[in-house]
Symmetry: C2
Subunit: 590 residues, 2 copies
């Protein structure tokens, strides 16, 4: 008989290590001038809820859906004591966009930074929010994000500091998508052989609220089937109304937690959005009226993305992909006797989901007075030209750190859809990630060599691979190796899109990096070539944690591997550790 190592052992040792470091961290952070520790005590459990009027089961925190908003100031320490009140499921929470500098164990990625918190257990996430910005948090285990485990995390500037723009008030908008099929059943569907596609979401949610089988704008619809929503306003699915005073400037903080998180397609470092799946629901946000193009006058000035200031840019609408966040300013300079739509449409996928709607309510006009013309109309879902134009407008504010002018290493990551034994999987450079039960961070910290593949994943794909066509052999293999990066080196990552399984299909797809931001040096068409380096924007590339790849295109990122840890990243791709050796040596040598 074989010998079965119990991962609990490793987990325990690791937990010990984490605890001791957490305590060390807490004392040092308490010393930061003016900074506070923000304490939260959360219980995660399933509950009945009606996100869109149809009662379902959602994953809530302290009886709320979405979870409570965390609000802190830059420099504060966030201390979340999370108790798992689920019956049989583990849980973790990832603090999306928080770089966890020096606290890789608090990143909240199951099998990467920690073991899932088991039922009945309590785990403390304690980390510093070092930088003002618009963030959010969400479950990072199985499909728990799809089940509704998410909420907002807003970091204000430190006391006495100022944002580089003015506003009189603000709103916080967290976007998500909702399926009526339970996340458990979605998970079984997606991991079936053959895969059963779960279809498009039934409803788009704004702050956890949407309307299914009725519309706020039914009266403007030519369809006789459109039913007006009858809302008293206190229902769980009544829209979150944005109440404004005329002639003021407001900051709209928007983050997108749209889902499709399947552990089948679960991934790491540069985790794709949706989780390991290449389909991101893009959203187009507008406010105003359709008929008189009023929204053109409600100009949106984009000033922040993923916690980094942008060169202010005025647009009519924004595209936001899963995992991204933006701050936009708008001025309430319209007729105050009217109300206005804020509408959300699906981008990049043929929309079978009605727009998400809420209302910009000019006080003292009644909030129940609907806008007097239809909601804004979105460009065609596949109008990638306008999406690319928007992405190219997003540039860093002067003063943002610039990227190093050269890199030490380039990793090209080819995104493909494949099969393993009939199961549909996503692969990176032809390897589909299967996470090991023992977290990488602990395995590496304690030098356990039998927990994951010791062979490093490839830095590139076959040079003759045709990204414009389905692969001749669509089968792939699984693995869980790790990219090891040297501490303080500069890494270029080229995200290379390709044709999916079917001919003439290539999908828009956002990627997210944990523990770091990266500069987006550029987007390109077709296969990336050496000459594309010349086109890199080294002057004012946006500094972000999430980037999109367009169909049949590539996106070039650069980052400095300066935060020791193991960090989640790409679709079915291996994970990354850098400086870990030196970090752990330091820990022992000290």
């Amino acid at each position: 008989m074989g010998f079965f190592i119990d991962p609990c052992l490793i987990r325990a040792l690791f937990a010990l290590c984490i605890l001791s470091i957490i305590f060390a961290t807490s004392s040092s952070s308490a010393a930061a001038a003016g900074a506070k520790t923000r304490h939260f005590k959360w219980e995660v459990e399933y509950m009945h809820w009606s996100p869109d009027g149809l009662e379902s089961v959602v994953m809530g925190i302290n009886g709320q859906f979405p979870g409570p908003t965390i609000r802190a100031r830059a420099g504060d320490t966030v201390h979340v004591e999370l108790t798992n009140k689920l019956h049989t499921e583990g849980v973790v929470i990832h603090w999306h966009g928080i770089r966890q500098i020096g606290t890789p164990w608090a990143d909240g990625t199951a099998s990467i930074s920690q073991c899932a918190i088991n039922p009945g257990e309590t785990f403390v996430y304690r980390f510093k929010v070092d930088r003002a910005g618009t963030y959010f948090y969400h479950g990072h285990y199985g499909m728990q994000r799809s089940a509704g485990l998410y909420g907002s995390l807003i970091v204000d500037v430190a006391e006495g500091e100022k944002e580089p723009f003015h506003y009189d008030g603000e709103f916080n908008i967290l976007l998500s998508d909702w399926w009526h099929k339970s996340s458990h059943e979605q998970e079984v569907d997606l991991s079936s052989n053959p895969m059963r596609w779960i279809g498009e979401p039934q409803t788009l949610l704004i702050n956890g609220r949407g309307q299914f089988n009725c519309s706020l704008a039914a009266r403007f619809s030519s369809s006789s089937a459109a039913r007006e929503c009858r809302l008293r306003g206190n229902e769980q699915y009544a829209p979150h109304i944005l109440r404004v005073q005329p002639n003021k400037t407001y900051r709209l903080r928007i983050a997108s937690s749209t889902a499709l998180a399947s552990s089948t397609w679960f991934t790491t470092l540069f985790r794709s959005w949706p989780l390991g799946q290449k389909i991101g629901i893009g959203m187009l946000i507008k406010t105003g009226h359709a008929v008189d193009s009023f929204w053109r006058k409600h100009k949106l000035v984009v000033v922040e993305a993923d916690g980094n200031y942008l060169r202010p840019v005025s647009v009519d609408n924004i595209d936001i992909y899963s995992g991204e966040s933006y701050s936009v300013l708008f001025t309430t300079n319209q007729d105050p006797s009217n109300n206005y739509w804020l509408s959300i449409n699906v981008r990049g996928r043929e929309p079978k989901t009605p727009p998400g709607l809420t209302i910009l309510n000019y006080r003292p006009t009644s909030a129940s007075r609907l806008p007097n013309s239809p909601p804004p109309v979105s460009p065609r879902w596949d109008d990638y030209g306008s999406s690319k134009a928007f992405s190219n407008k997003i540039l860093a504010l002067t003063g943002t750190p610039k990227p190093p002018t050269t890199s030490d290493r380039r990793i090209v990551l080819l995104n493909t859809q494949n099969f393993i034994d009939g199961h549909t999987k996503w692969a990176i450079n032809n390897v589909s990630l299967v996470l090991p039960p023992t977290p990488y961070l602990g395995s590496i910290r304690f030098g356990l060599s039998n927990v994951f593949d010791q062979k490093r994943p490839p830095d590139n794909f076959k040079h003759d691979y045709d990204v414009m066509r389905p692969a001749p052999n669509q089968n792939t293999t699984s693995g869980n190796g790790v990219y090891v990066l040297r501490f303080n080196t500069t890494i270029d990552v080229i995200l290379q899109n390709a044709n999916a399984l079917r001919a003439n299909v290539s999908e828009i797809h956002p990627w997210h990096l944990h523990g770091h931001d990266f500069w987006i040096l550029g987007y390109g068409e077709g296969k990336f070539t050496e000459s594309d380096v010349q086109k890199f924007n080294l002057k004012n590339p946006p500094y972000r944690n999430t980037a999109v790849i367009f169909p049949y295109g590539w996106t070039a990122l650069r980052f400095v591997a300066d935060n020791p840890g193991v960090w989640a990243t790409a679709t079915s791709s291996p994970i990354c550790i850098w400086g870990w050796e030196s970090f752990s040596r330091k820990a022992f040598d000290a």
Copy 2:
């Protein structure tokens, strides 16, 4: 801030301990003469399945539902290498009726004998099946039994040995109940405030097969709504036909895994069936025809219960409660040109679920030829007189070990239904069990005193409690203390039924003890009194692991605490350890 102990640590230490003992055990068991080790490699995962014609998600093992049957001989070692292929849920498997002598860590009870096996992990269950009999296994975590995690475990007599009865062939029948609502949603319903009752099961399953929305016996129904099942015979929900030759004697092994396992009501020592819930679905089994009372001629001779031989008793039908098993012999002495029904009806609850049916097929008659008259009719669901009469007929075969004539300690366990903060709970002696995340077995083995209540639960309830009426105060508290029993002492347990929350409601309810069998010394009406001791049957009480309590009645059990460990038992009641001190001391002193 508080200090949060990580249960993983304990788990790891515990795992180490278990591993070392397992290896010691395996070498010793291998030495047993003629005995074999039966190896099984199992993967647990959710899959699409149609247990009753309606596609649902079930928890399967190696792609099978119910799980594979384990077949071994007395004295063999069963070695199950269980890999958890679920995405976010832990899993354990309890080997119901196997006493786990010397292997308390293999009992498969989450939070009691082990931590749940986490996703991706493999755990080895290795234990000796010391005694021939009809057993089964099932999930023992949350509502995973309701999700379909169960299968048969049959132990034949050791090579060269004989059963004390003759038969020519045998059939194995595992009974269960099926809801169309997912077990996850049932769990949320049951733990809601106020509780949402999940209602009666949609279908009764025989070997995982039932028929919903159609009936094998529709042609005999007077209802025009009855629809004949159109089956080719290879569907997942086609009945499991029992094919017999005329004039032979068959052994029918029957076990009941009917469900309702809610961790809300999760329990320990003498775990109740359904898990911590006081509602057991009793089953009445008959074979034959209704019209000509043919089943009267297919006499059922009961010869085994829960792995113990019985004084053979001839009956027309048997009552079987969740957690029980029986072997019955029947002789195929009927007209061989006909086929016969085997029918299962709900007992003890007003039946809203149609009977479960299958066919006794006399070869060479075609199996597709339906019996020529309707299925047997069950007595009224609340005809407790006939149920009690059946239970009183179940007596031990001469030669079965007799109970000690006196006991060293008596524990009276009052079963009540209560509220905690509006949640419906079951309580024992007014304490409702909440399992600690760290398993008792490890906590006690390593002397951890902060993991569960160190205060012992009460051995009795208030003497003036009126079991015939709802409690004046229906609120209760939770706890997780432990009954500590001295090694080799004789314990009497009086299971005292009472009125449930509503007036004039008291329900039938089976209890199961882990790690031991007990003698059922008697059943009585009303509140147990000292004088009832005189009525105890010390001559030939049946030796079993599961016993029923009847409405407003009591059941008296006696057992010898001779198997060191921590063992699951009653509804919301604490657990039991005995001899543990001496056991662990021995382990350390050796």
